[in-house]
Symmetry: C2
Subunit: 194 residues, 2 copies
DNA sequence: ATGAGGTTGTATCGCGCCGATATATCGACA
DNA sequence: TGTCGATATATCGGCGCGATACAACCTCAT
């Protein structure tokens, strides 16, 4: 969800919408897009919620000539910043390792801010995510082996490619989990190695 | 888009919504989901468009007792079938190799019905798709090499994984394209091999 | 210097799609 | 007999997208 991405980026520095969008796009590495049609409504919602506040300079430094046009727009740059509640909210999201954290929509954003989370939460989310993806993989595998003989080449190819993708994600997650466990042991100084 | 998936499946056999959903899920191999919140409105839209018609038996075979409850629901199974216009529409979609055919949302469905399309359209779509994915890959690569030194491990890992995914899709598409070209040469009997 | 084109920047509209939810029927099995 | 799970239809609120409009600014060739 956008909420966390916006909170996380504004937590680093105040920004206006346009830059926020570019940063989110870069952050997620193409995992998810972010259109203006989502961004501005989201900012509005979050302002109403009290997570963020908007400093609107309207560029009063510029003097308008007397015969200025109707100036219907008069939109100035709006710089957004986190409020105290916003910071609190973001910290809450960081600490939360609940099931929603490993669903498709949230996982990417969640992962992008892993550096600000502690090892236990990271592991919980990664393992939850892996279980989730494994379930999908098994479903796909079953469905594929059931229909393998009865469908045309392209349907097969598509399903196989889908299966390969989730398979790859499982492997990726497993590597990350292993790596986290090594780190944790190094930090814990060896209690319950499992 | 759902429209084509529904048309394509109903083109094989009439079905009711519930089964339609299962078939679409299996067809796309997890590429896209399909919730009831999309399905039923889509069916409604398509009925209004005249692509499909609904045979509603309402189960009149069953005799209601005189003291029957309000029967607020009284929903019977609705079997949907393609109309002549619907078949025409589906054929039109199959023949169309326009740019929308290789965008993310449509490509999966489009590909699932490749068996009913001819080689030239298949090649056009596959090559369009490859160009599209290559663009994204190059953008990602550039962004990654720009920021590589300035971001934390997890952001890097996420972006790298995203890049690997699109890279993999490009390779997949290339194999498919090669394979199509071999087939075409075999059929054409060798004119303009390129 | 002027004006064309590109980038920055804010904002809205319609609509597709999702998740959650409500409701009803049917078969299986205890 | 009752209850559970699968089958089945349908709606609601809300999010996110693509398209679009608008406006200010910068650069660069003419």
């Amino acid at each position: 969800m956008l909420e966390m991405a916006i909170l996380g980026l504004l937590n680093e520095a105040p920004m206006h919408g346009y830059e926020l969008r570019k940063r989110v796009l870069a952050l997620l590495g193409g995992f998810r897009a972010l259109s203006y049609g989502s961004l501005y409504p989201a900012l509005k919602r979050m302002r109403e919620q009290g997570w963020i506040c908007a400093q609107d300079p309207v560029d009063t430094s510029r003097v308008l000539p007397a015969d200025a046009p109707p100036l219907t727009g008069k939109r100035g740059k709006v710089v957004y910043a986190l409020t105290a509640e916003g910071k609190e909210r973001f910290q809450g999201l960081l600490t939360d390792g609940g099931p929603e954290a490993w669903e498709d929509e949230r996982f990417g954003v969640r992962f992008a801010f892993f550096a600000q989370t502690d090892v236990d939460v990271r592991l919980r989310i990664l393992e939850g995510r892996r279980r989730r993806v494994e379930e999908r993989r098994d479903g796909l595998r079953a469905s594929l082996s059931r229909t393998r003989e009865r469908v045309d080449r392209y349907t097969l190819e598509l399903q196989q490619h889908g299966l390969d993708s989730v398979d790859r994600e499982v492997r990726w997650l497993s590597e990350l989990i292993d790596s986290e466990k090594v780190d944790r042991v190094a930090v814990d100084g060896n209690e319950n190695t499992l």
